[in-house]
Amino acid sequence: MTRRAVITGIGVVAPGKPGRIAFWDLLTAGRTATRTISHFDATGFRSRVAAECDFDPAAAGLRPQEIRRTDRAAQFAMVAAREAVADSGLDLASADPAMTAVSLGSAVGCTMALEREYEVLSDGGRHWLVDHEFGVPHLYGHMVPSTLAVEVAWQVAAEGPVALISTGCTSGLDAVGHGAQLIEEGSANVVLAGATDAPISPISSACFDAIKATTPNNDDPVHASRPFDARRDGFVLGEGAAVLVLEELSAARSRGAVIYGEISGFASRSNAFHMTGLKPDGKEMAEAITVALGRARLDPSAVDYVNAHGSGTVQNDRHETAAFKRSLGERAREIPVSSIKSMVGHSLGAIGSLEVAACALALKHQVVPPTANLVHPDPECDLDYVPITARAHRMDTILSVGSGFGGFQSAMLLSRV
């Protein structure tokens, strides 16, 4: 019998207050969590706004040693994993540890801790030969992003396959897609799948400044993230994590689990064009969407809503609008398309999993989150982007897409079961 992967638990640490309920409230209210950067003094930086999480690791239940040894991105993931397991109602103690797996994504790993420790070891950049006497015991754990998956695996005592997938800004979708694959092929019965990133630090901000990818709209942080709006001028850096509990459908049903939806199709393609540039034709993203539909045995007409990548850069918004038309045909004009990055910013690898979480919640509540700040439509982007206000809408299948540096394009379908 075909094994199918379903979502039975959701954990979220998103900009604003942590938790999936706060996340969904923010999205459906059309509120934005973007503000002037508070994590460091961003004076002198081109882009000084970000979508920050109001996150206190101790208040979120992490122990002092868990906090000391981990980067902020790991803490997000640990807390999100706990919430997801609690939400699922799964009794992990009775599960076979060898069939419990982790598939976590991250674009930039433990970059905050890596930079913080660099500043000390190099004494503010003075020494190329950094001083090992100042090395903290967990320094190596900050250098390898695999640590993020290790921490989640320890949370759930997973002894099955554990993966850290780092495909830049498609990491979150790719990690959930890989998790679904582990269930479908029989390598795992339960997968903690999601992604985390905490990139709001000087080095990450400086590198996006250098290529003018992030917004210089520092005077109006609340309205700085404007996907599909003619006045957009770059993305707003964000942070956060979402972790999902994936289970095999029949097992989830037989224990009476509440099922948010099925990962009914997933595919990824690459444009092999440019590390940061996109061709306006959207060809490879369209191909990923078409292949994902094929795997789900669905026609474009089955798609009821598209959760767009919608980063708020001109090239992205036009690229994916073209991709939707190319892959979905007329259906692209009939259905709502929106970007939650307008509210929670772009948390690099994490955002793909936050978007899947948003799609799962949209399926449950039958509500489409809006594209905030969309006031002046870009004439080149002529679909229904659900401006400003959330919308009640009947949905059986949702498409979520991601696009990232390296040329990676991913598409995932979530369906009600």
């Binding site: 002198g44 674009a107 790993g109 890596l114 930079e115 660099y118 500043e119 190099s122 950049g125 190329w128 030969l129 950094v130 001083d131 015991p137 967990h138 320094l139 190596y140 754990g141 900050h142 250098m143 390898v144 992003p145 695999s146 640590t147 290790v150 695996a153 320890w154 005592a157 002894e159 099955g160 396959p161 554990v162 993966a163 850290l164 997938i165 780092s166 495909t167 830049g168 890989h178 694959q181 092929e185 080095i203 590198c207 996006f208 400044d209 250098a210 290529i211 595919a267 990824s268 393609r269 690459s270 092999a272 440019h274 590390m275 191909e287 990232g404 540096f405 390296g406 040329g407 990676f408």
Partner: protein
């Protein structure tokens, strides 16, 4: 991955390692026991307790287009070089393969460490506007896969696995999955290059690097004098194709990917045992093989006494004490992290092609509690047909990959 799925074969190897550039040079060094370890030359290591490692000769970079050099970290440059070599070795014309049927899946352990240290130095000494435009595409872990996809026009489902040393096996597990689901060619493998001061200091924090000030005595896995390992850089790129497609273009293969399994050790303090033995069992089941079918084991061989003991115990548990030859040519390169297990796979395939089990150079006195047949006294011309490669990644990642001999001999 299981035996009934569409078969994946390895048709090309591109080695960029301290032992040599190119599969042939590497194999000759492995057989001769010619070490790639020595005093670190890239910076002055005299102020650090660890001063030796395995550096890749700069001649490897001759394979990298000059345009890409300023845009990339050394780790990506080594992979670009390895990929050129591997595709040439596979004698495949990528222009003839449909673009969506080719994928790139690499293992990365720590990304563009040297590039990142340079840019952070600029940031902290000169200010944010001095950080270069290429930092955004050189430092992150996906840089290598992205550059390889662009360079070779591979538009299929690309991936990046970061599982420290275990990533080099898991990318081949993923390559098998992709072949099963319709990809024709997967450019796989991995490299690492963290021999910069910050990279070395971060590695030292584990306490697993050897401080013995003699590159010939510092990395002695399973030996009574084991003191940890030395770091190295480089790795191997590996061309995986579906057996049917390789056959239809008349390509010979070094070997077949027979079975892969991955698991993870229980959390610290757990009373449950480590998972290596059960992961080996699962890889055997996936391949439809019995322990007695395995002719050689390429060990993870950490050189940290507790790790060596645990690995030897798992091998003994599955195969019986001293029942299977175990080898670790990585004593000639040091541990290469994201590139390490990929290089082990290349070495194992070359061993199958040569019909030889290569020796482990360095160790001489096996620890009493390691009841394994470590190949110490020269290579054995036993004509191995099945090799098992093991890898353990920092934190608990545990992977096993079974390889079966192909119909190709050693490369030119």
């Amino acid at each position: 991955m299981n035996a009934s799925s569409k078969r994946a074969v390895v048709t090309g190897l591109g080695v960029v390692a301290p032992t040599g550039i190119g599969a042939r040079a590497h194999w000759e060094a492995v057989v001769a026991g010619k070490t790639g370890l020595g005093r670190i030359t890239r910076f002055d290591p005299s102020g650090y307790p660890v001063r030796h490692g395995g550096e890749v000769a700069d001649e490897a970079l001759a394979q990298v287009p000059t345009r890409l050099v300023p845009q990339t970290d050394r780790w990506t440059q080594l992979a670009l070089a390895g990929a050129e070599l591997a595709l040439r070795d596979a004698r495949v014309d990528t222009a003839t393969v449909p673009e969506y049927d080719m994928a790139v899946v690499t293992s990365s352990s720590s990304g563009g460490t040297t590039f990142g240290q340079s840019e952070m130095q600029r940031l902290y000494t000169q200010g944010p506007s001095w950080v270069g435009a290429y930092q955004s595409i050189a430092w992150f872990y996906a840089a290598t896969t992205g550059q390889l996809s662009i360079r070779h026009g591979m538009r299929g489902p690309c991936g990046v696995f970061c599982e420290e040393q275990a990533g080099g096996l898991d990318v081949l597990g993923q390559a098998s999955r992709l072949i099963s689901s319709g990809s024709r060619l997967v450019l796989s493998g991995g490299t690492d290059a963290s021999l910069c001061p910050y990279g070395l200091v971060a590695q030292m924090a584990t306490g697993h690097l050897s401080t013995v000030d003699d590159p010939g005595r510092a990395y002695l896995p399973f030996d009574a004098d084991a003191s940890g390992h030395l770091p190295g850089e480089g790795g191997a790129m590996i061309v995986v194709e579906s057996a049917a497609d390789a056959a239809s273009r008349g390509a010979r293969s070094y070997g077949r990917l027979l079975g892969h399994a991955a698991g993870f050790d229980p959390p610290p303090g757990s009373s449950r045992p480590p998972v290596l033995a059960s992961v080996i069992d699962r890889s055997l089941r996936a391949a439809g093989l019995r322990p007695s079918d395995v002719d050689v084991v390429f060990a993870d061989a950490s050189g940290v006494p507790a790790h060596d003991h645990a690995e030897a115990r798992a091998i003994t548990e599955v195969f019986g004490a001293g029942r299977v030859p175990v080898t670790a040519p990585k004593t000639l390169t040091g541990r290469l992290y994201g590139g390490g297990a990929a290089l082990d796979v290349a070495t194992a395939l070359l061993a199958l092609a040569a019909g030889v089990v290569p020796a482990t150079f360095g160790p001489s006195r096996l620890r009493a509690d390691c009841e394994i047949d470590l190949v110490l006294d020269g290579a054995r011309n036993t004509g191995p047909a099945v090799a098992l490669v093991l890898a353990k990644g920092h934190g608990g990642f545990t992977s096993a990959l079974l390889l079966g001999a192909g119909d190709r001999g050693l490369p030119d």
